[in-house]
């Protein structure tokens, strides 16, 4: 019982990441009708916003201290991160909180990247066949990940989580179970709550603002909205930017859980497509539900008991599920009829 509960928790943070990426994929597909194979790369770019932010604030300023000597007899070099140099103790706090703080950098950067991508490339593909959309965004994904590789190198760059959030929460004892029976790392809990927060914000935005209303109407029937004289293209561009920001933030906050490397995006992309397919192409709630469902399922499949029963199941469970769903229920859990059928 406790083991099951623990696995349930374990799936939540990964599920949150899947849901956030899949949400963006679905939004872009629903509004622009574009199948974006570069969406995973946006997740990866977000993660590298965190890396860049940390490198920026920990850039070391070298001063020499004539009072002290190094073991080699020369004046001791003191390396101080730039943030600490100018902000003192506050700088240390900022460095400690570099991951959540890099959200401030990621929002404008991802928005700009998203808008440039849409205006510069994607918009020329609205009316081209889906195969060509897949191909061009696939090429773009390669370009983005290789660019990151040239600047940040091929190896994963671990990002520490703020020290307050190290260790694990004793979730079990909160619920009256034996203390220590079910624990859940604090940062994963933070990530789960963060993803819930972003998801609610996006849904509220779509539900309660005029902008969101137009976008939803556009998803349902683009031509009619256009006939109403609403400049839908500009809104859709912003929508793409928003999807990029969501994917980017998902990437930023995920860095302490998985050290980002340049091909992170592709790994998540394939999984997120599976999520979108399972949830139903074009359905926002479907994408979210399927994201969490698959995260949890994956976590269950990696239980030792289950792995012993069916070896390798943890490696393929998600793909297997996608295959089954596509064959049995091609529209996914909550998909609309006829979307992308031809």
């Amino acid at each position: 019982m406790e083991a099951i509960f623990a696995q349930l928790l374990n799936g939540l943070d990964k599920g949150g990441a899947y849901a956030l990426i899949a949400l963006g994929l679905t939004l872009v597909f629903g509004t622009l009708g574009v199948v974006n194979f570069a969406h995973g790369a946006l997740f990866m770019l977000g993660a590298f916003c965190a890396v860049a932010f940390r490198e920026l604030i920990t850039y070391e300023i070298v001063t020499t201290d004539p009072e002290q000597l190094s073991p080699w007899g020369s004046p001791l070099e003191i390396r101080t991160p730039i943030a600490q140099q100018y902000l003192g103790d506050w700088g240390a706090v900022i460095i400690d909180y570099s991951v959540p703080l890099s959200i401030l950098l990621a929002i404008p950067v991802m928005l700009i990247i998203g808008i440039v991508m849409e205006r510069g490339l994607i918009k020329h593909f609205y009316n081209r066949p889906h195969a060509e959309q897949i191909l061009v965004t696939f090429g773009l994904a390669i370009v983005l990940q290789e660019l990151v590789k040239t600047f940040f190198g091929p190896n994963p760059i671990p990002q520490p989580m703020p020290s307050t959030f190290r260790g694990a929460a004793d979730v079990g004892s909160w619920l009256g179970l034996t203390p220590g029976a079910v624990t859940y790392p604090w940062w994963r809990l933070v990530y789960f709550l963060f993803s819930i927060g972003i998801l609610s914000a996006v849904f509220a935005f779509l539900r309660f603002t005029t902008f969101g209303m137009v976008v939803r109407a556009g998803m349902a029937d683009r031509e009619t909205v256009r006939l109403l004289g609403i400049d839908i293209d500009r809104r859709f561009t912003l929508m793409f930017g928003l999807a990029a920001v969501v994917a980017g933030l998902a990437g930023v906050m995920y860095t302490p859980l998985l050290p980002p490397n340049y091909h992170l995006g592709m790994e998540f992309l394939v999984l997120s497509f599976v999520v979108v397919v399972v949830g139903g192409m074009g359905s926002l709630p479907g994408a979210v539900a399927a994201g969490f469902l698959l995260g949890i399922l994956q976590s269950f499949a990696s239980m030792t008991a289950i792995k012993n029963l069916i070896p390798g199941i943890d490696q393929i469970i998600i793909y297997l599920l996608a295959v089954v769903i596509l064959l049995v229920r091609p529209r996914g859990l909550m998909g609309r009829r006829g979307v992308m059928e031809s």
Partner: protein
């Protein structure tokens, strides 16, 4: 013999193609590419791309999982070396058959959907194979260390005829070792066979049915065709081509790793086909050659060579140019590849073959214009 019959212009095309392929060691010399390792790759990846094009070019089904069949071919060939004999023929036959079986299974399931769903299904299957090769299937694939020959391999057939010798054996054909140029000619001959079969498909009623499926599947079924077995046949054929290519990779270098099945490898064959020209016979071959050639050139470049290349520029400018270009060569070759991919899809979705056709028709138009102008002025 119907089996060998082709329309006249196809016969000419095949003859020209055969000459081009077989004389590679001669005409590639000025390009500095006439060494066996690279020429083998030219032939092998051309086979892969020609096969992929039978599916994507004719039926329009975009598979993102064809590298899986390449990997299956490689593993099968290496196992044939290990278990039976170092002869290449059985290894290749097993490779083709085994990948055909895999393609039949995966195709049967994936072809129940079309469009983007088909692409994702094939991608999912390829990822599954890749993940499994690295985990549970390690006894068969040897995981990250890659499957290799060892001295203790049973090689039951070889052992009936000869003594175990010290040192690892190498692949052979009819007892002749297949090193270097011999390996190239084996690949070249198989490329010709593969190309010929592709020509047969393109020229046959079957090829027309596949094109009709791409053109209008609704009309196809209301015309009385059961489209799925047609597409499945194309899928299996192209899977077998990939298996042959994978088998040849193992024959020329007897080792098989799971990275061959990675989805980036699937993306590469898509790019080769697009770059050359989807749905044309020669296009995929040109695409494969160009990419493998550029890969060879670009990834070998380093900063020292760039400095040498741009030494005629003023010093400051030289440094900047070298700093920028160095991002695109060596390790950065994939960046160039990605850019080429994007540019081709944006500006020339029909690939190089479409470019050639456009230039040709532009020239023809100009000639026509001149002639018309001439005749009108003559009439006055």
């Amino acid at each position: 013999m119907n089996v060998l019959r082709l329309p006249r212009q196809d016969v000419i095309l095949f003859a020209v193609f055969a000459i081009v392929v077989l004389t590679m060691p001669i005409w590639l010399t000025p390009f500095g590419a006439a060494y066996p390792g690279l020429m083998q790759k030219f032939a092998i990846f051309a086979i892969f791309a020609v096969g992929f094009n039978i599916l994507f070019g004719l039926t329009g089904y975009l598979s993102f999982g064809h590298a899986a069949f390449l990997g299956v071919g490689s593993y099968t060939a290496v196992w044939s070396f290990k278990l039976f004999t170092m002869d290449a023929i059985p290894a290749l036959i097993f490779a083709v058959l085994m990948s055909g079986v895999f393609a039949l299974g995966i195709g049967f399931v994936s072809l129940r959907r079309s469009g983007i769903y088909f692409a994702i299904l094939t991608l999912a299957f390829a990822q599954m194979s890749y993940n499994l090769a690295y985990s549970v299937l390690t006894p068969i694939t040897n995981g990250e260390t890659a499957l290799q020959l060892t001295n203790n391999d049973p090689r039951v057939i070889d052992m009936m005829f000869m003594e175990r010798t010290a040192g690892l054996p190498s692949p052979s054909i009819f007892g002749q070792p297949l090193g270097g140029i011999g390996g190239f000619y084996l690949c070249a001959v198989l490329l010709l066979v593969a190309f010929f079969i592709a020509q047969k498909v393109f020229a046959s009623p079957f090829g027309m049915m596949l094109r009709a499926i791409k053109s209008n599947q609704t009309r196809m079924s209301y015309t009385g065709f059961n489209t799925r077995p047609y597409a499945l046949t194309a899928f299996v054929i192209s899977g077998m081509y990939a298996g042959l290519a994978g088998g040849l990779l193992a024959v020329t270098d007897p080792l098989a790793g799971a990275e061959r099945m990675e989805w980036t490898a699937s993306g590469e064959v898509v790019l080769m086909t697009i770059l050359g020209g989807v749905g044309t016979l020669v296009g995929p071959v040109i695409g494969a050659w160009l990419i493998k050639y550029l890969e060879n050139i670009f990834s070998a470049f380093n900063e020292g060579m760039l400095h040498a290349t741009f030494s005629w520029l003023p010093d400051g400018v030289e440094d900047i140019v070298v700093a920028v270009t160095s991002k695109f060569v060596g390790e950065g070759w994939h960046l160039t590849l990605g850019l080429v991919f994007v540019l081709i899809v944006v500006f020339l979705p029909g690939g190089i073959m479409e470019g050639v056709r456009r230039i040709r028709s532009a020239v023809a138009n100009r000639r026509d214009n001149r002639r018309t102008r001439f005749s009108t002025s003559a009439a006055e």
